[in-house]
């Protein structure tokens, strides 16, 4: 009996230790980047162009480029993804074909990001002749984000109580009217949370934009969707591996990494707060 209890203590101890290790990994990553990156961060760093062959100055064009491309991504993936989710949750009948669609979505989510890059080159850059541009990159990232948007939106639609739909239908509303007036507004916070998280992942991606539009260095901001652009993750990649004076620009690389990490934190925090409010509303 004592042996059993000892075994249980050791077993639970090991499980607890695994959880602590995971927590520690995140702490080490965040601590190292914050400690060494904080020195580089200043207002100047955020609003200045890179200068002196990117050994001085800031990351302003990379921030603007990332915002611009993420905007295109959102414009493409959110309407399409939410519509697809509406089909799956409101219209589709469960069966072989619907299951096939769901399997495709999950498989799409597992396609390596560099393969999306290849597809972006073939379809947008060469096929549709958008060239290496904000548009090509934004659409490529949109394809990559699509399965995520569909999955999280469908989750949001599923949490809307069935009575909301039935209530509208009983009053003589058509299916679409019931979706538009009752289902969509109730699912909106859930869709928003999923969308924000999905877009923040897209904003942090590098492989899909490598050949579809991102530039090493540009002396000016992109002024149309057919321009090339600079992006935060690619900028960090360059500063840490491709620059001619890697040791010299290390502080700038740390600063860029910190901005990226801070972005992830803020986005997750927003999502958590939204989810919390949402849950409270529905438990009433």
């Amino acid at each position: 009996m004592k042996l059993k209890r000892f075994e249980e203590a050791v077993g639970f101890g090991i499980l607890g230790l695994s959880a602590i290790t995971v927590l520690l990994i995140l702490c080490i990553i965040v601590f190292d980047i914050t400690k060494k990156g904080a020195g580089a961060i200043s207002w100047q760093f955020l609003v200045d162009f890179p200068r002196e062959g990117m050994t001085q100055g800031g990351i302003f064009p990379a921030i603007i480029g990332t915002i611009f491309v993420t905007f295109i991504t959102a414009l493409f993936s959110i309407p399409l993804g939410v519509s697809a989710a509406i089909y799956l949750s409101e219209y589709a009948k469960e069966g072989r074909f619907t299951r096939f669609i769901r399997v495709s979505i999950r498989n799409l989510a597992g396609v390596p990001s560099i393969v999306y890059g290849l597809f972006g080159v073939a379809l947008f850059v060469e096929g549709l002749r958008f060239g290496t541009s904000v548009l090509s990159s934004g659409l490529t990232l949109g394809l990559l984000t699509l399965p995520w948007i569909i999955a999280t939106s469908e989750e949001a639609f599923k949490t809307v109580p069935q009575s909301y739909r039935e209530g509208a239908l009983a009053l003589g509303a058509t299916k679409w009217q019931s979706i538009r007036s009752n289902v969509l507004p109730s699912a909106f916070p859930g869709i928003l949370t999923g969308g924000i998280l999905g877009l923040s992942r897209a904003a942090g991606e590098t492989a899909p934009i490598l050949f579809t539009g991102v530039a090493f260095y540009l002396p000016r901001l992109p002024d149309s969707v057919f321009d090339q652009f600079m992006a935060l993750p690619y900028h960090l990649y360059i500063l840490s591996t491709q620059h001619h004076a890697i040791e010299q620009v290390r502080p700038l690389a740390y600063g860029t990494a910190l901005v990226l990490i801070a972005l992830v934190f803020m986005v997750n925090l927003t999502a958590i707060i939204l989810r919390y409010r949402y849950r409270k509303k529905f438990s009433m």
Binding site: K4, F12, I86, L108, P233, S240, A253
Partner: protein, 294 residues
């Protein structure tokens, strides 16, 4: 009335077309890779491509297009990552699902979400500035950019997938299984190992498959930390160049329409098929599991 019905039909049709978009995109990606990849074999015999050790497309006179070295590199880095991530991931999932108080659970879940949200370049950066020097110091190497470094970081990156999918699987085990076990006098630990774990094993297998899929396809992190030497690796301390890294490095440099250009799409096709296969196994395991339950 008729007009309303037509409008409803049109709306239904609109949502149907968006609904099948994922199928069309998946098919589109596959066809594009196939059509472009196949062009390689006009110049390179299929088995030389698949089983050749040397990848040297820019060699003067006789370029070689063997992908075996990069396939072995990818497999090695992935295997290392899974060896590290599986015990850690399943252990953490077990802790969150079975031991942690609700409060601890609520703090650990965002931690895992944030870990999942860290961009791959930031992970690569960590590999260069943090993991690399530590590896070099411990093992007395001149550079810490090698397969081991890649494995460690890919392990961290596949952890969130393994943890969340395993945790869901553990939680999905019906409570009466546990209660029956307690009623027979079993302890919580015995119940977890002998009852819960076997009951959700397929879900855990699925989580590991998804973790493998994530590791195989990861690009930027391995590109930044594994050193990228295009040769057959002999140990985890060798610098390796994986399939994803090869595409990322070389696609920007090759002229459109050359054999080298198409060969990179062929590598992409193999990556696609591998991840497709891995996901499908995860899918089948889960479906079989659900049937077994019902």
């Amino acid at each position: 009335m008729n007009l309303v019905r037509i409008k409803e039909k049109a709306i239904h049709f609109f949502f149907f077309t968006t609904g099948i978009s994922a199928v069309i995109i998946l098919l589109g990606i596959f066809l594009m890779l196939l059509i472009r990849g196949v062009q390689t074999f006009k110049d390179v015999p299929f088995f030389d491509f698949l089983l050749g050790i040397a990848w040297n497309p820019s060699a003067y006179g006789e370029p070689s297009y063997g992908i075996l070295s990069m396939v072995v590199s990818t497999v090695m880095v992935t295997l290392g990552a899974i060896i590290i991530a599986v015990p850690l991931g399943i252990g953490t999932a077990g802790y969150i699902a079975e031991i942690a108080s609700p409060k601890k659970r609520e703090t650990l879940k965002p931690v895992i979400e944030i870990l999942a949200g860290i961009p791959s370049v930031v992970m690569g950066f960590i590999g260069i500035v943090l993991v690399g020097p530590v590896i070099a110091k411990i093992f007395g190497l001149t550079s810490g950019l090698n397969a081991l470094n890649g494995s460690i970081l890919l392990a961290v990156m596949s952890l969130p997938t393994i943890i969340s999918v395993s945790e869901d699987a553990i939680r999905a085990v019906p409570k009466d299984y546990n209660e029956a076990s307690y009623a027979l006098g079993a302890s919580r630990w015995t119940t977890l190992i002998r009852v819960t774990l076997p009951a959700c094993l397929s879900g855990i297998v699925a989580s590991v498959m998804l973790g493998i899929g994530r590791a195989i396809g990861e690009t930027m992190t391995v590109l930044m930390v594994t050193g990228n030497t295009p040769a057959m690796p002999h140990s985890f301390f060798d610098s390796v160049k994986t399939m994803t890294a090869t595409i990322a490095i070389e696609l920007g440099e090759v002229p459109y329409g050359t054999t080298h250009y198409y060969a990179l799409f062929a590598v992409g096709a193999i990556l696609f098929l591998t991840s497709f296969g891995v996901n499908l196994v995860a899918e089948l395991v889960t479906v079989k599991h659900r049937r077994g339950r019902a």
